[in-house]
């Protein structure tokens, strides 16, 4: 039994699985209960009597991460739970109220999706017994786009074109005949609504769902790491996996196996795992692990930080450590990165909400993250031999990255700000200790940021070994033939903008225009071409030797700007709101799209081309004609400046501190 889809029903759970070579549908009765506790039950005896009489509430003891709690168990839905909250003026502490029913059923039954019974979850090697098709609508995903051509790839490639009715008839018949378990479909969450509407209009059956029903996942704008994000509404068919290959972050990062791994370890069905963010996945993983261990999942976030003095709070409320670099070009530099630093700190230092004030006990968070961390370390090693594991590794990396931030998230079920602060505090100590080791060994520390150090000098291999020995945390090493740390506007070194040539010849860049999401493709191409040329140079002398060629590339792009395709000059960014207080490009983009009938929501990515920057006139990328050459010229200059800084360093002998014999070994 290999479960690949499930849904909650009124009185239980339905799921679809591959069993003995065919698809089976199972429906089981399952009514989960929620629990609650009261600090003074006598105050609410009337309410307790009523809940007992109407919903069969019973006294019980249940496990929480803080230990056993005496309370009540009620087999009823979340409306009853919320009524209890209101009746007790929010004094009742409720558990297991809003856990997904199918996830809870799987956890309590010892099952998990996308795996055979008894199969280990934390492995990158697993079978995928699914039949699949890939559907592509040959049109941009816009309301105005007609569905005039659709391609379906299964055992062969079929293309349906013509009127909307003809195309839909062909598509729907093909889906019915192929009867796939998995549908890969770019912009599926946009097209499925259109397909459903038009199928209804033409009186055509919708074979996408194996039960005839669809689940809808509402559109949502939300904040994530300081950025407004948008998730479009989705129409999810029963009994099949439908993955929007364009919108799904998990699919884009991890491919199909990444989605399946996310599903296996969280206990969420792949249709949800593919649509959720890494933060929601790590939250679901923790919830699933709590359920598997019989630990009740809190409904609300009520455990606040402890009482602290001002000075204590000020000392604790800090982020990661940064050593500011000199803005300069450096040669023969090694970068030492800690592998999964924050999750490792959680595990090694036993950091969990319940251990903050009782460090002797084994914490819930370290316990559940330990398996995930071990899985990630193993996958990371495995991907060097088997590149097909790279997607899984990226998903695990994202989940582990967010598990730290999640400890400080206000609604984290198993997080607390004091845990977050201790993690960053420990990380600062580790980076300081590592810097100390480097300096004891005579290495120069050029830069450091949270979980990595850039050092220069001989004995890097020994330094790496000593750091791992002192901290107990694995590290990775990258060697640069040369690296440029760019300046901030005041001339001091920027923390997160650099590029350099790795010893293998590849150019690594971070924070520069070529890496920014909102940089137009033309500017990105220019900077990438510039860096590719510079990547041929192994050292300062070689760099000076190719300077003219690099300047030539810059001139070619500068002069070609007015002939560039306007689509390549589109600025793509997420809009954070629909109304802006001041005049700005974001507001102009929203207005331009709305004028053309596009429904815009906060968090959506929009593409626009600047026609007149001074008057804030922009056009949607698909409707752009003329461009503001001066505005884009300034962007070209900005991109060039980041590259030209390296040559300025060389000409001005900006960096004089490179000993001739400084070879990293």
């Amino acid at each position: 039994m290999w479960i690949f889809d499930a849904r909650a029903t009124g009185d239980g759970v339905e799921f679809w699985c591959r069993e003995q070579g065919s698809v089976r549908h199972h429906a089981v009765e399952y009514t989960p209960c929620f629990s609650f506790s009261l600090s003074d039950p006598h105050l609410y005896c009337g309410m307790l009597d009523a809940v007992e009489e109407r919903f069969g509430a019973a006294e019980c003891t249940f496990e929480t991460v803080y230990g056993p709690v005496d309370g009540y168990r009620v087999c009823a839905g979340h409306r009853v739970a919320e009524a209890i909250e209101r009746e007790t003026r929010y004094a009742a502490r409720l558990y297991n109220v809003d856990v997904r029913r199918e996830q809870r059923y799987f956890a309590e039954s010892g099952l998990f999706p996308c795996a055979y019974p008894g199969e280990p979850r934390f492995t990158a090697a697993f079978e995928v017994p699914l039949t699949s098709v890939r559907i592509t609508v040959d049109a941009p995903p816009r309301q105005s786009s007609p569905i005039s051509q659709v391609t379906v790839e299964h055992e062969r490639v079929e293309t349906f074109s013509g009127s909307a009715r003809t195309v839909l008839t062909g598509l729907l018949e093909c889906v019915e005949v192929c009867d796939p378990d998995l549908i890969l479909f770019p912009h599926a969450d946009f097209w499925m609504h259109r397909i459903a509407e038009q199928a209804e209009e033409f009186g055509l059956p919708m074979p996408f769902s194996r039960s005839g029903r669809f689940r809808s996942l509402g559109s949502r704008s939300y904040w994530s790491y300081g950025r407004r994000e948008y998730r479009p509404a989705a129409l999810i068919p029963d009994g099949r996996m439908l993955i929007d290959t364009d919108q799904s972050f998990v699919y884009r990062e991890g491919g199909l196996r990444g989605v399946l791994v996310a599903s296996r370890i969280t206990g969420l069905v792949p249709n949800l795992a593919a649509r959720y963010t890494p933060g929601t996945l790590i939250s679901a993983y923790e919830v699933g692990e709590a359920l598997r261990r019989g630990i009740a999942v809190p409904f609300r976030k009520w455990d606040a930080e402890g009482l602290r003095g001002c000075a204590e709070l000020r000392a604790a409320d800090r982020g990661g450590m940064i050593f500011q670099p000199d803005a300069a070009l450096h040669v023969r530099v090694a970068q030492i990165d800690f592998t999964s630093l924050y999750p490792t700190i959680i595990v090694h230092h036993n950091l969990s909400p319940e251990t903050v004030h009782a460090p002797g006990r084994k914490g819930f968070l370290p316990e559940v993250l330990e398996s995930l961390l071990a899985f990630r370390i193993a996958t990371k090693q495995q991907k060097t031999l088997d590149p097909s594991c790279a997607g899984i590794d990226r998903i695990l990396k994202w989940m582990l990255v967010t598990c730290f931030g999640y400890t400080g998230y206000k609604n984290a079920r198993f997080g607390q700000i004091e845990v977050h602060e201790r993690i960053t505090g420990t990380a600062r100590e580790i980076l300081l200790r590592s810097k100390g080791i480097a300096e004891e060994m005579g290495l120069s520390v050029l830069h450091g940021i949270v979980d990595c150090l850039w050092v220069q000098g001989s004995g890097v291999a020994e330094f790496k070994r000593r750091v791992e020995e002192a901290t107990g945390i694995l590290t990775e090493r990258e060697d640069y033939d040369w690296i440029v740390f760019l300046p901030q506007t005041d001339g001091s070194g920027a923390y997160n903008r650099y590029y350099g040539r790795l010893s293998g010849g590849e150019v690594k860049a971070r924070g520069i225009l070529a890496r920014r999401r909102d940089t137009p493709a033309y500017i990105k191409m220019m900077q990438r071409d510039l860096l590719a040329a510079m990547g041929e140079a192994k050292g300062p002398a070689d760099l000076l030797g190719i300077e003219d060629r690099v300047r030539g590339i810059y001139r070619r792009y500068r002069e070609g700007l007015t002939r560039a395709d306007p689509e390549d000059l589109a600025i793509r960014r997420r809009i954070s709101r629909l109304t802006y207080a001041g005049n700005c490009m974001g507001g102009a983009a929203v207005r331009a799209l709305q004028r053309r009938g596009v429904e815009v929501a906060p968090g959506m990515e929009v593409g626009y081309v600047v026609r007149d920057a001074a008057r804030l006139v922009v056009d949607p990328a698909w409707d752009a004609g003329t461009i503001d050459a001066r505005y884009y010229g300034a962007l070209v200059e900005k991109a060039w400046e980041e590259v030209a800084f390296a040559f300025r360093c060389l000409h001005e002998n900006y960096n004089a501190a490179i000993p001739a014999n400084s070879v990293n070994t």
């Binding site: 600090s39 209101r86 003026r89 929010y90 004094a91 609300r300 976030k301 009520w302 455990d303 606040a304 930080e305 402890g306 009482l307 602290r308 003095g309 001002c310 000075a311 709070l313 000020r314 409320d317 800090r318 982020g319 206000k410 609604n411 700000i417």
Partner: protein, 168 residues
């Protein structure tokens, strides 16, 4: 304990008082309370306190607890054991729990029976208006002419504070 906020307003014990005033005045209020009885003062704030970050570095020490959700705030109020509570209003606590504004206000009024509770806010908002139903006294101080000496401070007040950074 009888405390004076400003010469005009005499506060009595067992009162839940909402003070809506320009931020520099709220800072002065907290500093004044800290000087009067720092050891008995509990300051409750949200994630991004605009008052704590502007306290004079010579301000006597007092205890702080941060609430990131309205439920945490209810928990802190229930557990508070102090002689005076200053609650810096954080409207974001009620973004996803608007129904909790009144229960929080009622909890504040309840807590004020043991220790006077002052809720400080720079301006009104929907959550504060709902909370007003539970307050014993509401003091609104309008923004007047800002003294020149405060001008640079005002400029600082405009930006949202991101981390706790004491002193000026």
């Amino acid at each position: 304990m009888d405390v004076k906020l400003r010469p005009l307003f005499a506060m009595t014990k067992e009162a839940f008082c909402m003070v809506i005033a320009p931020e520099h005045l709220l800072v002065s209020v907290l500093e004044w309370f800290a000087r009067e009885d720092g050891a008995g003062l509990l300051c409750i704030c949200g994630n991004f306190s605009r008052v704590l970050s502007r306290l004079d570095r010579c301000c006597p020490a007092f205890h702080v607890r941060r609430a990131f959700t309205a439920h945490q705030l209810l928990g802190i109020l229930e557990e508070a054991e102090c002689r005076l509570i200053v609650l810096e209003h954080d409207p974001t606590l009620y973004d996803d729990a608007p129904d909790l504004a009144l229960p929080v206000a009622l909890a504040c009024a309840d807590r004020a029976r043991n220790a006077p509770l002052f809720l400080l806010a720079p301006r009104t908002d929907p959550a504060l208006r709902r909370m007003a139903r539970g307050a014993h006294r509401i003091v609104c101080v309008e923004q007047g002419e800002v003294p020149a000496r405060r001008a640079s401070l005002r400029a600082l007040l405009v930006r949202d504070q991101q981390t706790l950074d004491w002193g000026r």
